[in-house]
């Protein structure tokens, strides 16, 4: 069942088209990655799902219904830019946010306690946000978006500003929510996190969809065209005829091959050049690589279209 569905949605602001004929579906109980470069239309799309904007054309359906204020209690939204009231106690703010979602105060404070314990913030319950570190505030904001136990959660950069321990903690919480049947729309620029967590992805650029589907299927579509090579020595053996893109990392290289290039040729040349090869692996491209490839590629396409059109 599709919990969230966008059908040919278009949204304009004056002359600027923020979202153009965008369609995607989010299956229940999955984590859906909504990806795209800055200004691609992600936030506008999300704002249409949470009923902040109305689409100019097309339909936005949540749980089979057109979005309306009635659906708001079923949606939790952690915006990318978020804040807390400076002069209000943490517990008071969270109860306030829960009240706005329709929870009564008794139930709300019970849940606030549970969540604060879960995210290791109990000691800060009666403190004000100014006493908290940025990471702690992030966790409080996360609680504010899930306190009403929504069926659909939209998390925009939920891990920004968190230390690795907190990231792990929050990741487990999110995965736990997923196993409980919640649907999560996850928007981030951290592609490793998408690879770790998402079932399906949709990559948008200039307000239109450029790539979508199951994460595995998307990667498979690109085939095993990437060589992970761990070697010692110069990299001059790599000829332009073979390599489309070359990412050098301190411990290894990620080499995206040209279409039709033979991976074995890379190994041959490396050995011929006298490099010591510690690792050679033919893999699917990383999502990061796919993202860059698709976005820069579509820019090129868009530019050609402008010239010809």
């Amino acid at each position: 069942m599709n919990v969230v569905e966008l059908k040919h949605v278009t949204k304009r602001f004056d002359q600027f088209v923020a979202v153009k004929d965008l369609s995607f579906e989010v299956r229940q109980g999955t984590i859906f990655g909504l990806l795209g470069p800055n200004g691609a239309g992600k936030t506008t799309s999300i704002r249409m799902i949470v009923n902040i904007f109305a689409p100019d054309q097309g339909d936005v359906l949540v749980m089979g219904q057109h979005v309306s204020p009635d659906l708001q209690p079923h949606i939790g939204y952690l915006p990318e830019e978020r804040g807390l009231y400076k002069k209000m106690k943490i517990s008071d703010q969270l109860v306030f946010f829960a009240n706005l979602k329709g929870l009564n105060s008794t139930e709300a404070s019970k849940r606030v306690d549970e969540w604060l314990t879960l995210l290791e913030l109990s000691d800060w319950k009666n403190k004000k946000p100014t006493d908290l570190s940025k990471g702690m505030q992030q966790k409080v904001q996360f609680i504010a978006s899930v306190i009403h136990d929504p069926d659909v959660m939209i998390l925009d950069e939920p891990f920004s500003g968190l230390d690795p321990v907190s990231v792990n903690l929050l990741k487990n919480v999110i995965l736990d929510l997923k196993t409980r049947g919640k649907t999560i729309i996850f928007s981030t620029h951290q592609m490793e996190q998408v690879e770790q967590m998402c079932d399906d992805i949709c990559l948008i650029n200039h307000g239109t969809q450029v790539l979508s589907g199951g994460l595995k299927a998307v990667k498979r579509r690109y085939g095993k065209n990437t060589v992970i090579l761990d070697y010692e020595g110069p990299d001059s053996f790599l000829g332009d005829d073979l390599v489309k893109h070359h990412n050098r990392f301190p411990n290894y290289s990620e080499i995206l091959l040209n279409d039709g290039a033979d991976a074995q040729e890379v190994l041959k040349r490396a050995l011929a050049a006298g490099a010591r090869v510690n690792r050679f692996e033919l893999v699917e491209p990383s999502l990061n690589e796919i993202f860059i490839e698709t976005v820069t590629g579509s820019k090129r396409v868009a530019q050609t279209a402008e010239v010809t059109g």
Binding site: D14, R47, I75, P79, E81, L84, K87, N99, L100, S145
Partner: protein
Amino acid sequence: MKKVWVIIKREYLVRVRTRAFAIGTVISPLLLLGLIILPGFLAERGSRGERKITVLDQSGDPALFEAIAARAESPGSRSDSDGEDGGFGGATRFVLTRQVVPPDQDPNDLIRRESSGGEKKDSEKSYLILAPGVLDNVAPEYHAKNLSDFSIRALEEAVSAAISERRLMRAGFDATKIGLYMKPVDLKQFKIGASGESKEGGMRQDFMIAFALLFFLYMSVLFYGIFVMRGVIEEKQSRIVEVLISSVRPTQMMLGKLMGIGLVGLTQIGIWALSTGLLSLFGATMFASQGAKMPNIPTSLLVYFVLYFVLGFFLYATLYAMVGAIVSSEEDAQQVQLPVTLLIVMPMMIFGLVMANPNSTSSIVLSMIPFFAPTLMMLRIAVINPPVWQVILSMVIMVATILGSVWVAARIYRVGILMYGKRPSIAELGRWLRYS
């Protein structure tokens, strides 16, 4: 509507619980009380300054000096003892010393001799010259370093009364009855009330009450209007709106904020009105025994005050909410709020016109303008009793304006709170109105 209530509750509690609210609620009425009571209080028992005056007497009439001294040296016997001269300087005590100067000598020489040179310790010394013909038509003269002293009026009255008394004596009037003839006549003032009956009062009291009410209304509307603006900016700047907006409609947010903060203001004003009412009832005798007059503020005036605060607050707070939504920071707001603040301040600059002529056509028209009505109509109600239809009409016009501005503000608000950075132009604001 439940969500609006949740927001109202937050806005209200967060503000009422602050120390600033408690302090503001207590301090302001003390200031108000001070404004009304203090001048009279001071006049009666305040600083009893002393002024040494050397009377250079050329009149040749020792009784004249005695008459002046008797009047000037004991303030209680003066006709202005109830403070009708404005209450300033009424308590100054004069110490008169008589120095007889021969008629052929110029008293100015004497003054020059004493004032010039190094005799600094007597720099406060002043002189009253009673020239030879002072009982006829020659004016007495007062010479002093400081002439901007309100007590001079008291001295003038004492001298004037004493000279008149001496003239009457000289004309052969019965000395024992002169005091009776010369007793000053007070003009008792009565105000015709709405029901047609007259009540003793006075221009001074009316002025004080009207001014105090006007001032408080102006301060409260301005204060709470700016509260709203700052609240909106806080939510916008800290991006709390982003979180809120997936739970409530912007219009609900705005209305909740307006009502919540309005209720804070109403609470404060309610406390003030109640304490004023109680003071009028029970405190009057207490203050009277201290020699000061506690003006009696009619309950109807307090009710109008609350009504016009509510209307004025909603009108201006809506505009301030709009300003808050347009700008991205408090610094930005300084400029954008100027037109709104100007609208509030303007009646404070022209209220004198209305007070002087509360029933003129221009006053009536001015008090109908919705942005001026809270202050100017309130002023007219305090000073005269304008026809009921005028009061109702002003309220109807205000309510209509409020509805209109809420409509506009809501449309600006829902777009503005999600726009950061560059301030929009007027044309852009116009386009925001049309967004769906």
